[in-house]
Amino acid sequence: MKNTLLLSFVFLFFPFGLSWASNGQMIIEIGEAALDKKKIIFQRPYLAEKFDVFEAKLIKEFHSIFSNDFSFYKKKFFIIDPKNEPVSDFDDKNFELWTNRQFKFITRYLFTKNIKKGAINFKVELIDTYNKEILLSEKGHFFSRNLREKAHALTDLIFQKIEKTPSIFRSKIIFVSDMMSKGRRKIKELFSVDFDGRNLKRLTHHKGIVISPSVSSDGKKVLYTLIRTGKGRKNLNLYSMNLKNRRHRIISSRKGINSGAIFTSDGRKIILTLSHTGNAEIYEINLSNQRLRKITHHFGVDVDPDLSKDGKVLTFLSSRSGKAMIYLADPSGKEKNVKRIGFVGQFNATPRFSPGGNEIVFSSWMDNSFDIFKIKKDGSQIYRLTKNFGSNEEPTFSPDGEFIAFSSLKLRKRKRLSVQNIYIMDRDGGIKGQITSNIGYCTTPRWYNPPKI
């Protein structure tokens, strides 16, 4: 009996004693690592023959595009100035000089003359010095008219080889400008420009007011709303245009607003704002049979739709709470899974999804101007991206999600000196540069990838 008592006592209290005896260890969460920048050098070009002044200028421009393009990705790459670096033979395979200095990637250029007048042959190689491997070797030729296009295509290939993801080097930005306005007559047309602000092209010649452009995911078509100026009934009609041949046609001319249209990911349907029933609502139109389907149904004003890349979530602006706030919905039904994610801000506008679908950028009225903000899809973590930089609106993500283009209005005391241009910033609000200059008031930028040639 005594033995059983003793045993039970020990058995009952032994584990307690052990737990009291142990001290707590603490696991310190270090968190996500920062990105280790890759060192890359774009070596000075190797000229196999003698070139004249004009050809030398073209070669210099071609070569400079590589470092200019990669300078956008300063967070990922440490770019070395090749001025002070020795130039080795193009076929030199001794990489010790570079590996000792931790230069993982080098690009080499060889230029020769082409039989065709005005053409220059190139050979570009990307080398991994650590593994002593030629990752990329491209040959071709260029003229002065397509020099930039060829260079951007090569820089994109180099980027993809290193990062395994596409870059913005081939992308373009479409926007609206009023540079064609004459006196009191306002004319707003559609323009496109390369991501670096070069290669400006006019796309429309309506001599009216173009607003709300949007490009299809394949980069072949653009939707926009046109307000015809002059005599007659003014209506906001929706147009679609083929970017290759510039042919356009009316998609919707219903009474009232036909605006804010976007393509679905497959390009067969569009989602837009219509007000033909008396209230602005969001609809879906099937382009093949023109069938109309209602997505929102509320007495509040619902405008500015944008679709996530997978097409499963729609974001839009609605006044159903009394103020213009950001909402999410399932576009497959009517008022399906409508969820409010914006609860702050006096007036919010133009919500746009990131390519990954996790974030939404939008503009909001604050401190007597508009500024750009970023919010998570679930409504948490609002970040301010712009401040003391004029009035900033209409943000759009780059195709890789690393950059944001937006329009910025700088007001001056003399109204005629005020300017509105397109700017690019990184996803954390670091301003990269101005894309447009001296081409009137530029608004509503949309970033897209053109189709590969």
């Binding site: 059983t4 737990s19 707590g24 260890q25 603490m26 310190i28 968190g31 690592a33």
Partner: protein, 324 residues
């Protein structure tokens, strides 16, 4: 008859003992079942060899009540500024102490010069006016010093107020010969207690500004020693995390895989030097683990360890989780 009675009594006793035994075994079994269920639920019983581990995460709770006024860049620079201010405040404290030492030295040299000057003044009436002026100047200086001290207390951030009070308590107050003469008659009590007693009273007053050991005053509340230790260790953990995090970098191909996880146990000595490392959990990728080890080595040495937490840090209670 007696034999049958004793026999019956024995039988009854035996029966009772048997019943007692049964009840005893039943109660033991039920107690054991409760204990087993308890440990199964907590799942710590089966791992009694391993130490309890708690994950120390850094987090900031934010209630979204209005649009943010600061941009991401401004937020980042704000954190740096705070760290800079703290370090600068420490530097200011150090620099502040130096000139005081110099002043005291100068004052001592003046004091040394006074007796000879005083003797001269006794003999020369003309210089009496000058000595009065000097007295006025010295009294002004004393007042200014007091004002400076008060201003510094009001200007310095909350963190340094306690240090200042501590410093005030530990300072030796040097009293001028002339002011001593005055204090004989006026020691604040209105009574002449003599030199020794007035000294005791002054020391008591100074002692009153000291903070006694084992207690902390934060916003008027007193903390227990355990809570103080916890605060100290939390503060040390955040500093270690900060220094390690600044060196934690990965190339894109390693960053992409979110499943990699490596844990390193560190042993830190009193002065903050890294004594040893131990990888207790591997990620499965050699390069990832290698980079984590390199990060810890680059981050060393760490800040000096407070005596209260010395043992824990030395025994390897700190584990660095890459990323957690």
């Amino acid at each position: 008859m007696n034999g049958s009675v004793t026999l019956d009594f024995k039988d009854e006793l035996a029966e009772e003992e048997g019943l007692l035994g049964n009840f005893f075994y039943i109660s033991c079994l039920s107690h054991i079942a409760v204990v087993v269920l308890f440990y199964l639920y907590n799942s710590s019983f089966f791992r009694f060899k391993e130490k309890d581990q708690s994950l120390m995460k850094s987090f900031v709770r934010v209630d979204v009540v209005s649009m943010p006024t600061l941009t991401i860049k401004e937020l980042k620079s704000l954190k740096l500024d705070r760290n800079f201010k703290k370090s600068k405040a420490k530097d200011l404290n150090r620099t502040e102490s130096k000139p005081k030492v110099k002043e005291f030295k100068a004052h001592n040299s003046v004091q040394k010069g006074i007796p000879s000057k005083v003797e001269k003044l006794k003999d020369d009436l003309i210089f009496k006016e000058k000595s009065k002026a000097k007295l006025k100047e010295s009294s002004k200086k004393i007042k200014e010093r007091k004002v400076d001290i008060v201003e510094r207390i009001s200007e310095t951030p909350k963190d340094n107020v306690l240090d200042l009070i501590k410093n005030l308590g530990t300072k030796k107050v040097k009293v001028l010969k002339r002011s001593r003469k005055r204090e004989k008659t006026n020691n604040g009590l209105g009574v002449n207690l003599g030199r020794k007693n007035s000294k005791i009273i002054k020391n008591l007053l100074i002692e009153g500004n000291k903070i006694s050991k084992g207690e902390n005053l934060i916003e008027g509340k007193t903390l227990l020693r355990e809570e103080e230790t916890l605060q100290i260790i939390n503060d040390y953990i955040s500093r270690v995390r900060q220094s390690v995090r600044s060196y934690w970098k990965l190339p894109e191909y390693l960053k992409e895989n979110k499943e990699y996880r490596c844990r390193i146990q560190i042993f830190i000595s009193d002065d903050g030097s890294l004594m040893s490392l131990n990888v207790i959990e591997r990620s499965g990728n050699e390069e990832f683990d290698k980079r984590a080890l390199q990060t810890v080595e680059m981050a060393a040495p760490f800040p000096p360890v407070d005596p209260l937490i010395r043992k824990r840090v030395l025994n390897g209670d700190l584990i660095l989780g890459f990323p957690l």
